[in-house]
């Protein structure tokens, strides 16, 4: 007679018999997250730089991008790509939707981080660079952005953690990510407990080192450095 405890040992054994399923989902989550982080960084840097430029139209475009994606839920954006675009005739694979959806959404947050980073660099730097004949792109690339890296690393890492967590939205559109695999195993075997705990543990393994590193790095930065930090410790806890 098998024990009916939802966390009974035999349920765990049954689940680990299916470990490939979880492994596949875990890999898919890592792949989507990695590509989405790259996309978010590219979009974030481009729009972050644009939003500090002097051109009103460019600043407006960046503002619209940030406000739209920060103020509407990711769920709706992803379902729009999945259902809306499909009805309009454009069928994207769930993998593509994952990368695009999560990447564009977090790109808006990254752009705010980059913008705050650029604002923390004294104006004198820009004036000095200009006086030496640097063009806009040149001084951004060689003078301003390299200096922001140190201070924007902690909030960027927190964004990466949130991004990894948000890839779970793929489960809603059967994206074969970790959350989807865990959920489908839970509902097919009715072993909810082991399945969810194992999935949670795998997410934790991805996120915890990143989040802890970001916190430690920032504490060190505050202790050693007189650089003005544009981010409150509080502001950073923000998820999205």
């Amino acid at each position: 007679m098998k024990s009916s405890n939802p966390f009974a040992l035999w349920r765990w054994e049954k689940m680990f018999g299916q470990w490939q399923m979880f492994g596949e989902g875990f890999l898919r989550t890592i792949e989507v997250a990695a590509l989405a982080i790259i996309l978010a960084l590219v979009l974030g840097v481009v729009f972050g730089v644009i939003s500090t430029s002097n051109n009103k139209i460019l600043r407006g475009i960046a503002r619209v991008y940030v406000e739209f994606f920060q103020n509407t839920p990711l769920v709706i954006q992803v379902f729009f790509m999945y259902n809306g675009l499909a009805i309009a005739g454009l069928r994207l694979s769930v993998f593509t939707i994952g990368v695009l959806g999560v990447g564009i959404y977090h790109g808006a947050y990254v752009s705010e981080v980059v913008k705050a980073g650029i604002h923390s660099i004294p104006v004198g730097q820009v004036e000095a660079a200009k006086s030496q004949g640097f063009t806009y792109v040149q001084y951004m690339r060689y003078i301003i952005l390299p200096q922001t890296i140190k201070i924007i690393l902690p909030p960027l890492t927190n964004q990466a953690v949130n991004l990894i967590k948000n890839t779970s939205v793929l489960a809603m559109i059967s994206g074969f990510d970790l959350m989807y695999m865990a959920d489908s195993w839970a509902s097919s075997s009715l072993d909810y407990g082991p399945s969810y705990i194992f999935a949670g543990l795998l997410y934790f393994l991805l996120c915890f080192p990143l989040a802890t590193w970001a916190r430690k790095y920032e504490e060190r930065l505050k202790k050693n450095d007189s650089t003005h930090l544009p981010f409150d410790a509080a502001e950073e806890a923000i998820t999205c």
Binding site: F80, N83, M172, Y196, Y203, A211, A237, I238
Partner: protein, 219 residues
């Protein structure tokens, strides 16, 4: 064009969507109030109690901050045998949001110098009095922008509840959408959903911005 609007915004659809919006707002308010209380307690414990309860608070915060919200919604809705699905969904969001707010509160507490405690003690304040009258008011003043940003995030996060068929705004939008097949109609419903959230979240973000501007001038 007018016909399209008449097709989609029938009185029954509008009423259904309005009910969804009502539930979204109600859930958001309940979740935020409860999470602020619970999160403040967790944040205080993590900052000032270094023994057992502080460890428990740290464990709780790290556990919820490093796992997806969707996981907790599924856990609460499928594994807790009590209450209605709406209550269980709200519980998931409260548990998750509390951990985030606890970290925000901890950030605010970090900025309060130890001297404040010593001064309060020398005036005969008990610990509870010190926290209630001296430490927390200063802390909350500093973290209001972050808290408001978290409110925006929470309003958006309620849309995750659609996965367990809780009829909040997103879910009601999707239900309405199921009756339409034309591209224009479906797009219009998506736009309605996006605009609904946008209006709430954007007005909140304007509040944050005005507040930040005002305090930065005052400083």
């Amino acid at each position: 064009m007018l016909e399209l609007f008449q097709n989609v915004f029938t009185p029954s659809n509008v009423q259904f969507l309005a009910q969804g919006m009502g539930l979204t707002l109600l859930l958001s308010v309940i979740i935020i109030i409860t999470s602020v209380i619970f999160g403040t307690i967790l944040g205080l414990l993590r900052s000032y109690e270094k023994r057992f309860f502080g460890k428990v608070a740290s464990f709780y915060i790290e556990m919820f901050r490093n796992t997806p919200l969707l996981l907790w919604i599924l856990v609460c809705c499928f594994m807790i045998p009590l209450g209605t699905v709406v209550m269980r969904g709200a519980l998931a969001l409260i548990l998750y949001t509390s951990a985030v707010i606890a970290e925000i509160v901890r950030g605010g507490l970090n900025s309060i110098p130890d001297g404040q405690f010593e001064a309060a003690k020398s005036q005969g304040f008990t610990l509870i009095q010190t926290l209630a009258y001296i430490v927390l008011p200063q802390c909350f003043k500093n973290i209001i922008p972050s808290l408001l940003s978290q409110v925006i995030t929470t309003v958006k996060d309620t849309s995750f509840l659609q996965v367990v068929a809780i009829p909040e705004y997103t879910r009601s939008g999707f239900v309405v959408m199921g009756r339409y097949t034309q591209t224009a109609e479906v797009f219009l419903i998506f736009a309605t959903l996006a605009v609904g959230y946008f209006v709430i979240c954007f007005s909140l973000s304007m509040v944050v911005r005005t507040y930040q501007k005002r305090t930065s001038i005052a400083r």
